[in-house]
C-alpha cells in the first residue's frame, strides 16, 4: 500500500516536471502550429547553465534556478527572432527538418563544451534524502519539485486568465487576423510567449538534472515525452497538457516499477491508441491556424 502511494508521489513529481518542461511546446506546437522538435535543447541549455553556475561558480542551487530560466529564455528569444520567425509559414516538413538540425547541433555543441558524460548538480543538503509522512516515503527533492511546479502552474493559469497579456495571447491564438486588426502585435506576443516557454523549459531542465539525468542527449531522449504531453493533452487550455503530463508521469513511474520488463512499451502503445482515437488530443480541439 505504501509503495503504491510512494510511486504515486514520484509519478506526480515526474509529471509536474514534464509539464513545466513541455508547456512551452504546448504553445509553439499546439497553438502556433510549429513543429518544434528542438524544444528539449532549450531545456538542456537551462540545465547546463544551472550546472555551470552551481558546480563551477559555487552559487547556491536556488539562486541559480532563476538564471536557468532567464538564460534559456534569452536564448529562446534570440532563436525566435533570428531563425524560427522565418519558418512559421513553412510546411511541417521544413519545420521538422530545421528543428532536427538544431537538435543535432545542440547535442554536438554541448558534447564539445561540456563533455559527453552525465552532469550532476550539487544540491543543498536540505534537499537530500527522504522522510516519512504517514508511512509514505517522500523524497525531499521531489517534494520541492511538486511545490515549485505547482506554484508555476497556478501562476501560468492566472497569467493566461487574468492579465492583459493573457487575453492578448488567447486572442492571437484564436484568430491571428482579427487580433492584429484589433491592434494586438501578434508576432510580438508569439515571440514573447516562445521565449517564456523556453525559459520554463530551461527551469525544468535545471530541476530535472537530478531526476531525469542531464547529458548531451537530453533533447533526443525526452523529445518523444514532450511531444506526447502536447499531442495527447491537446492545446485548448493549459489544463489538457497538465493532465496529460500527470498521466504520463504516473504511468511511466508505475510502468517502470510494476512491469519493468515492458519498459516504455506501455507509454508508446497508449499514445498511439489515444492519437488514433482522438487525433486532436484527449482534451483538444484543432489549432486555430
Amino acid at each position: 500500500m505504501t509503495s503504491i502511494l510512494t510511486n504515486l508521489f514520484d509519478g506526480v513529481a515526474y509529471g509536474m516536471l514534464l509539464f513545466v518542461l513541455a508547456c512551452g511546446l504546448a504553445v509553439t506546437l499546439g497553438l502556433m502550429n510549429f513543429v518544434n522538435l528542438a524544444h528539449g535543447a532549450f531545456a538542456m541549455a537551462g540545465g547546463y547553465i544551472c550546472a555551470v553556475l552551481v558546480n563551477g561558480q559555487g552559487w547556491p542551487f536556488f539562486a541559480a534556478l532563476p538564471f536557468a530560466f532567464i538564460g534559456s529564455g534569452l536564448i529562446g528569444a534570440a532563436f525566435e527572432r533570428g531563425l524560427y520567425r522565418h519558418l512559421y509559414t513553412r510546411s511541417h516538413l521544413d519545420q521538422v527538418l530545421f528543428s532536427i538540425g538544431l537538435v543535432f547541433m545542440s547535442v554536438a555543441a554541448v558534447d564539445y563544451f561540456m563533455g559527453s558524460s552525465r552532469v550532476f548538480i550539487n544540491l543543498p543538503s536540505a534537499l537530500e534524502g527522504q522522510f516519512d509522512a504517514f508511512g509514505v516515503g517522500i523524497g525531499r527533492y521531489r517534494l520541492m519539485i511538486i511545490v515549485i511546479c505547482g506554484l508555476l502552474t497556478a501562476l501560468l493559469q492566472l497569467i493566461l486568465a487574468k492579465t492583459r497579456f493573457g487575453s492578448r495571447l488567447r486572442a492571437a491564438v484564436d484568430d491571428p487576423r482579427a487580433a492584429s486588426g484589433l491592434g494586438i502585435n501578434v508576432p510580438q506576443v508569439f515571440a514573447f510567449t516562445f521565449a517564456f516557454g523556453c525559459g520554463l523549459a530551461g527551469l525544468g531542465g535545471a530541476l530535472s538534472a537530478e531526476v531525469l539525468g542531464l547529458d548531451p542527449y537530453f533533447p533526443l531522449k525526452f523529445m518523444i515525452y514532450f511531444l506526447i504531453v502536447v499531442t495527447v493533452g491537446g492545446s485548448s487550455s493549459i489544463t489538457g497538457p497538465f493532465l496529460a503530463s500527470l498521466l504520463l508521469g504516473i504511468g511511466d513511474v508505475a510502468g517502470k516499477y510494476y512491469v519493468p520488463k515492458m519498459g516504455p512499451f506501455v507509454i508508446y502503445t497508449i499514445m498511439i491508441v489515444i492519437l488514433i482515437w482522438r487525433p486532436n488530443g484527449l482534451f483538444g480541439r484543432t489549432a486555430a491556424r
Binding site: G101, F104, M105, A108, A109, Y112, T231, L275
Partner: protein, 342 residues
C-alpha cells in the same frame, strides 16, 4: 487546357528513359570496377539510397511525413538476420524477399493508423511505431540479442553461386542489382496512372477525392509499397554487414534518412540516390575533420538547407546539368524540379 491525349503524351514523355539516367546507372556500375578498395562504403551508399528511395515514395509522391521509417528497415534487418541465423532460409535472395514481405505486412497493418489524422498526428504515430518496435526488440532480447544485437550471422552464397567475400565485392554488386531492379519497379509505379493519382493527392487531397481518386486506399497502397522497399534495405544491411542491432530502429536513422532525401530533393526518385552519395561523402568529410562532432555540421547543413529553401537550392544545383542537357538534346531536362514541395 490540355486534352486527354495531351496528358497521356506528356505522361509518356516523362516516363521514357532519358540518356542522363542511363549515364547515371552506367556510372554507378563503373564505380564498382573503378574503386575496388571502397566496396564497403559504396555498399553503404547503395543501401542508404534504396532506403531513401523508399521514403521518397511516401514523402515525395504521397506527401506523408514520416519520422519513423526506420521501423520497416529494422523489421527487414532482423527478419533477414533471424532467417540466416537459424538457417530457415539460407539463400540470400529468397531471404531478402521474405524479409521485405515481413516489413510489408507490418507496413500494411500500420498504414491504417498513419492515414488517419493530419501531419502532426502522422509524425507522432510513425515515430511512436518505430519507438514501440525498438522497445519490443529490447524486451524480447532472447530473440533479438538485445543491445548486443544478432551475432554470428553467416550468409550463404547468393543464388548458390556467388560467395560473400571479405572485400565486399559480391555484397556491392548484389546490393546494386537489387537497387536497380527495385528502382525499375518504382519508376514504373510513379509514372503509372497510380503514381499520377498519388501526386494529385499530395497536391490537394480534397480535389483528388473530388475527381474520383480513392485517397485512403491509394495512401495505404503506397505506404505498404514503401515499407517493402525499406524492409529490403534493412535486409540488405544485415546481409552485407552480417549484423543487426537495436540501432536499426533508432530515431537518428529516420532523421538521417530525411536529411538524405532532402539533400537530393524529393519527388523524382533520383533524389534519394544522389542524396545518399552526398550525405555519405559529407559524413566522411566531417568525421575526418572532427571525429566526434560531425553531427554538429550535419545539423548545420540541415538548418541551412531549410533556411535557404529546398526548392531554391535544387534550382541552383540543377542549373548547370539542366542547361547542359537543354543544349545537347533540346528537350525538357530529365531531372525536373518537383512542381511543389512536400
Amino acid at each position: 487546357m490540355a486534352t486527354s491525349s495531351d496528358v497521356g503524351r506528356i505522361a509518356r514523355a516523362h516516363a521514357s528513359w532519358h540518356w542522363s539516367e542511363i549515364a547515371f546507372w552506367c556510372l554507378a556500375l563503373a564505380c564498382g570496377f573503378a574503386f575496388p578498395s571502397r566496396y564497403l562504403i559504396m555498399t553503404d551508399i547503395v543501401r542508404l539510397g534504396l532506403f531513401a528511395l523508399s521514403l521518397d515514395l511516401i514523402l515525395g509522391y504521397a506527401g506523408i511525413v514520416s519520422l519513423g521509417h526506420a521501423a520497416f528497415f529494422g523489421i527487414g534487418a532482423y527478419s533477414a538476420g533471424l532467417l540466416a541465423l537459424h538457417g530457415v532460409i539460407t539463400e540470400p535472395v529468397l531471404a531478402l524477399l521474405v524479409a521485405g514481405l515481413a516489413a510489408t505486412v507490418i507496413g500494411f497493418l500500420t498504414s491504417f493508423l498513419v492515414i488517419r489524422g493530419v501531419d502532426l498526428t502522422r509524425l507522432m504515430v510513425t515515430l511512436g511505431i518505430a519507438l514501440l518496435l525498438e522497445a519490443l526488440a529490447e524486451r524480447y532480447s532472447d530473440i533479438t540479442g538485445g543491445t548486443d544485437g544478432l551475432q554470428g550471422i553467416v550468409m550463404a552464397p547468393v543464388l548458390g553461386l556467388f560467395e560473400f567475400d571479405i572485400f565486399g565485392r559480391t555484397g556491392f554488386f548484389y546490393a546494386l542489382i537489387v537497387l536497380f531492379l527495385l528502382f525499375l519497379i518504382a519508376r514504373r509505379v510513379v509514372h503509372s496512372p497510380f503514381g499520377l493519382s498519388l501526386r494529385a493527392i499530395k497536391n490537394n487531397p480534397l480535389r483528388a477525392a473530388a475527381i474520383g481518386v480513392p485517397v485512403n486506399r491509394r495512401l495505404i497502397a503506397v505506404y505498404t509499397l514503401a515499407s517493402f522497399y525499406a524492409g529490403i534495405a534493412g535486409a540488405l544491411f544485415t546481409q552485407t554487414t552480417q549484423l543487426a542491432s537495436l540501432d536499426v530502429f533508432s530515431f537518428e536513422r529516420s532523421a538521417d534518412l530525411m536529411l538524405v532525401l532532402v539533400i537530393g530533393g524529393t519527388g523524382y526518385l533520383y533524389g534519394g540516390l544522389i542524396g545518399a552519395v552526398v550525405f555519405r561523402m559529407l559524413q566522411e568529410f566531417f568525421s575526418t575533420i572532427t571525429p566526434e562532432y560531425w553531427q554538429f555540421w550535419i545539423g548545420l547543413v540541415l538548418v541551412v538547407i531549410v533556411l535557404v529553401g529546398r526548392a531554391r537550392l535544387h534550382r541552383w544545383v540543377l542549373l548547370v546539368p539542366n542547361w547542359i542537357s537543354r543544349q545537347l538534346s533540346g528537350r525538357k531536362a530529365a531531372v525536373a524540379i518537383p512542381e511543389s514541395e512536400a
